[in-house]
Structure formats: C-alpha cells, structure tokens
Symmetry: C2
Subunit: 143 residues, 2 copies
DNA sequence: TTGCAAATGAGAACTATTATCATTTATAAA
DNA sequence: TTTATAAATGATAATAGTTCTCATTTGCAA
C-alpha cells in the first residue's frame, strides 16, 4: 500500500508541517520534474500558498539530506532538485530551450567506477551533464 | 618554435596588457593547474602584482572565450579554470583534500555521443565529475 | 489543554560574479 | 617621438543565489 505524505516525512525523521507537505506534493504532482528553489517558491506563490523563501531553501536541503530529493548542479549556478526515486541517472540539458532529458548507461557507470577505483579513489557520487541542442525535435520545449 | 605570451594574446585578438600577461603566466608557470578567480587574485596579490578582482574575472572570461582557458563548474558554486591544451578530459575531485585528478576514457566519450545523438541532440559539450575520497593515497594533497 | 522544542518567515548577511564609470594605457597614425 | 583614441583597468555598486539570525508560531506529546 502507498504511504501518505506525512508518513514519508515521518520516515525521514521530519515532522509534518504545512510548508513541508506543500513542497513535497509540488514534486509529487509532477507538474515539473526538475525545479530550482526559486521555481518551487514561485509555484507555491502562484497557488496562493505563502511559504517563505528561506523555508523553501531549508526544506529542499532537508529533503535532500533525508533522501527524498536529489540535487543537481547544472551550469548557470543554481541547483535544481527532483524527486529521488532511488534510480541514479544522468542528464542531457538543451541549451536552446532548457529541456532536461534523463538517461542511464550501465557501460558509462561501470567505466567510471573502474577508473576511479584503479586510481585509489572511493567514489561518493558523480555528475554527468551533456549540454546540447535538441535539433531533431526543433526544440519543442520553449521556455 | 615556441611563441611568446604576447603572441598568444595577439593570436586571440586580445591586446597584451600587464594584467593579461600576469594572469596568463600564472597559469603557464603551472604552480597550480585548476584555479578559481579568487585563487588567481590571491596569487597575484601574494607576488606583489596588484590587479583588480574585476579585471581577474573579466580576463578569465576573455581567455575562456578565446580558447586559452577552459572553465569547469565543480560542486561548491565557484568556477575553476585551467590552461586549455586542446585535449578534453574529465575530473575526479577528492572531497577530503580538494585534489583534482584528470582522466580521459574513449569508451565513455563515445557512449555519451551515441546516447545524445540517438535522442536527437547535437552535443555542445559535457562535464563529468567524479566526487570521491582518495583513500589509498590517504589524501596526500592536504589543502 | 498545556509546554516547549522545533519550525517558520522576514529580512540581514554572505559569496560569487557582473555592471558602471571615471581614469589609465596600449597601439597606431602623424 | 608625440599624440589621439579606443580599449582596458580598478574601485566600487549592483545583482543573484543562498544561508544566517532571531522573534514568533506551530506540531505534537504529555
Ligand atoms: Mn533527473
Ligand atoms: Mn583539468
Ligand atoms: Zn551516472
Ligand atoms: Zn568527457
């Protein structure tokens, strides 16, 4: 059986407050999969929920630490977050329209691990971002 | 025959000014390979050369656009620069000591291109950063 | 209900970077 | 060589993203 949002928070050791529930459902409703703090803040404002920007930042970081969200650092400085479904993947970011596409390649993953291990590193994590233009599709995701 | 620094600048369409020459030789002397704007600024101060911080930022960006330097966005927000020797490579960053190690893997590179192309993207560039602890070496590169 | 640690919100502070603009400088013409 | 001038510089203001501070509010357990 599915668990409710308050349970998700409780399991993460976070008490279920109004701002946390609102932010979590924003991601779970899946309107937009990858969102910056500012994106989240604006979505909340737009739906009449007034949550402080500082709270948005705090909650996003807490959710990341609790494993509910994953944070990515794309070019452009601001971090973006997405629901953490436990499946690691990498990203292609379209430089024209900002569209983000996900991929996973077992061969790339294993070569990375091999390379780092051979050199005496214990891998924590990695990021692989491909910056490109979605030419064939003629950028259907204008922003 | 090797070309002088002023020639490097001239070839890049940049006139050879004192700050530009100082910044270029800082990278060419190779004391530190990967440097942030702040790193460059501090090195210059330390050697008695007073170049404005704004100039450091401007020159680094110009050198990047001219192809003299490559810029990387590691986690932590600040960009780092290194001499662009024309050979693309990726990075392993030690989370303990900050040491940066470089690698190149043809298999990873070609899989990336294949994946992006199959999905209709024209790749501009990519970044692959592995974040790790250099355990075997017991972090010999303390910062 | 009440108690209170935890969470929140408003705004200050901070960090990295870019913009503004008066002054200086590299270079090319005279 | 001077000189003209467009480009470059440096001080500092401004901006963007994010974190910190602290007085007030709130979830929740007794
Ligand atoms: Mn994703
Ligand atoms: Mn490098
Ligand atoms: Zn990956
Ligand atoms: Zn690569």
């Amino acid at each position: 059986m599915d668990r409710s949002q308050p349970d998700h928070l409780k399991n993460a050791g976070l008490k279920s407050t109004v701002p946390r529930l609102k932010i979590l459902s924003l991601f779970e409703l899946g309107q937009e999969r990858h969102m910056s703090a500012e994106d989240v803040y604006k979505h909340l404002l737009a739906s009449g929920d007034d949550v402080g920007l500082a709270t948005v930042y705090r909650v996003l970081t807490q959710f990341e630490q609790a494993g509910l969200l994953a944070r990515h650092y794309f070019e452009g400085g601001k971090s973006v977050f997405e629901l953490n479904h436990g499946k690691h993947h990498d990203h292609i970011v379209c430089l024209q329209c900002g569209h983000v596409e996900e991929f996973y390649d077992a061969a790339i993953e294993s070569r990375q691990k091999k390379i780092a291990t051979e050199r005496g590193f214990a891998v924590h994590d990695h990021s692989l971002h491909i910056y490109a233009d979605c030419v064939k599709k003629n950028c259907p995701h204008k922003r």
